[in-house]
Amino acid sequence: MSATISQARLSFWAAMPLRSDTMNIKLIKKGDIILAACLAAVCAALMCFGIFSKGELVAVITVNGEVCDKINLGEVKGSYTLELATEPAVKVLVENNAISFVGSECPDKLCEKAGKLTKKGSAAVCLPAKAVISVEGSGGVDAVTY
């Protein structure tokens, strides 16, 4: 018996048999494996959650490269307008699953021409105001070329 113990201490892998013939005792029980598997699953889920957790359509409003608001568009009921503190002034219309620039005072109105953003990966930019609205979420395209 003492030989069996010393072998187990000598090598980690030697201690791995699920059943010790000499002792007829289970060294690793089924519960241990299930627990280890559960631990692994929880860790994997946490990691995936950290990396890929974006189930809904979320609008991100950025001014001068700084995020100033994030809005879950799926939770928006009705609609409302946000006035951004920019020069020139720009307004953003927030609706259920849509966001758009409206009534901007910029000269070329390119931001308004972008229309309503309803899909992940799309963005509208007001260059003079350095304001950007973009939509994030799961699914959809990785990028848009224009």
Binding site: A8, A15, L110, L117, T118, A124, L127, V141, D142, T145
Partner: protein, 335 residues
């Protein structure tokens, strides 16, 4: 006896937890999304990898430095500004030489349909103020008389221009930014990245990416089709972004090197896929200027993929992209 059974079990737990930590830290995956303004447009960077935050900052800094040190026409200290002012520079940055060299090659292969010496001509057009006004014809003719990429000579890191043309690398700047981003990302432990410099996009990573091709007649969330590409750069030139409408004509920013006026050939957008950002950017403009037939031949010469969309919503796709483009409502492939 009790101890002897506990020891291996404990060892298994410790090993399992150590393995999980090892896997977690080995992947070390974090995701970062950052944005800034550069190259006269909005730049966004999405990265999954080790130290994604630091990498995203570094990518944005690299793009800003490319603009400020190399390609800008407004920063007086950039290579291109100095070249335009002094008519000759030496010791130009490698990124400047790369962008310039590739752009000049496209100028030659497109027989001048693409020309990077339209700087003074495009300065006469105002696509930003919202005022729908044509440039003075006399001034336009004078500026056109200086146009000609043949006046540029590159020798090692020295560049010189004969005559008066003004170099404008605006048509390759966004693509060059994608190239400098990729160069930097390749030196980091980045698993995947999407860098958008305006409408020019870098897809970096070992997977297929989906890229929406903007519907020229719709908004930013409307696509004419969706391209599936692996690591590549994608650029588009279209008439819908910068331009104005006057007396029923669309005046847009893709200027003909022959007339100095916007190219009017029935195309509304051209999208090009290439490994090189500079090439995808230059070719999207060049292919637009050449039209479907000439543009398709030019793209093929560079083994690039191309998607041409006409004003009647017909789509011409190069053979190498035929299976990679899913067209959406209202758009039909040419027969």
């Amino acid at each position: 006896m009790k101890r002897s059974v506990l020891a291996p079990r404990l060892a298994v737990y410790i090993a399992a937890i150590a393995l999980l930590f090892a896997v977690a830290s080995g992947l070390g995956m974090s995701q970062s999304e950052k944005s800034d303004f550069a190259m006269d447009t909005f730049v966004s960077v999405k990265i999954i990898g080790k130290d994604s935050d630091g990498t995203a900052d570094a990518v944005l800094a690299a793009i800003k430095s490319l603009e400020g040190d190399c390609l800008s026409r407004t920063n007086k200290e950039s290579d291109i500004s100095e070249l335009n002012l002094l008519r000759s520079i030496s010791g130009a940055n490698p990124a400047t030489l790369n962008a310039l060299g590739t752009a000049l090659d496209v100028c030659k292969k497109s027989a001048g349909a693409f020309d990077i010496t339209l700087g003074a001509v495009s300065d006469l057009w105002d696509f930003k103020s919202g005022a729908a006004a044509l440039p003075d014809e006399g001034l336009l003719a004078a500026a056109m008389s200086d146009v000609g990429y043949g006046s540029i000579s590159v020798s090692g890191s020295s560049v010189s221009i004969e005559g008066n043309p003004q170099i404008d690398l605006g048509s390759v700047g966004k693509g060059a930014a994608c190239d400098s981003a990729r160069e930097l990302l390749a030196q980091t432990q980045t698993k995947e990245a999407v860098v958008s410099v305006g409408g020019s996009v870098l897809l970096f990573g070992q997977r297929d990416f989906e890229v929406g091709v903007r519907d020229p007649f719709g908004g930013a969330s409307d696509f004419a089709g969706v391209l599936t590409v692996s690591s590549a750069c994608v650029s588009t030139s279209g008439i819908y972004e910068r331009g104005f409408d006057l007396n029923g004509t669309r005046y847009h920013h893709i200027l003909s090197s022959q007339t100095g006026y916007p190219v009017q050939n029935g195309l509304v957008s051209v999208t090009v896929v290439s490994e090189s950002g500079v090439l995808s950017d230059a070719l999207s403009t060049a292919c637009f200027a050449l039209g479907v037939e000439g543009g398709m031949a030019l793209a093929e010469e560079y083994s690039a993929g191309a998607v041409f969309i006409t004003e009647d919503k017909t789509v011409y796709v190069s053979d190498n992209l035929a299976g990679s483009l899913e067209l959406l409502g209202g758009y039909a492939a040419a027969e």
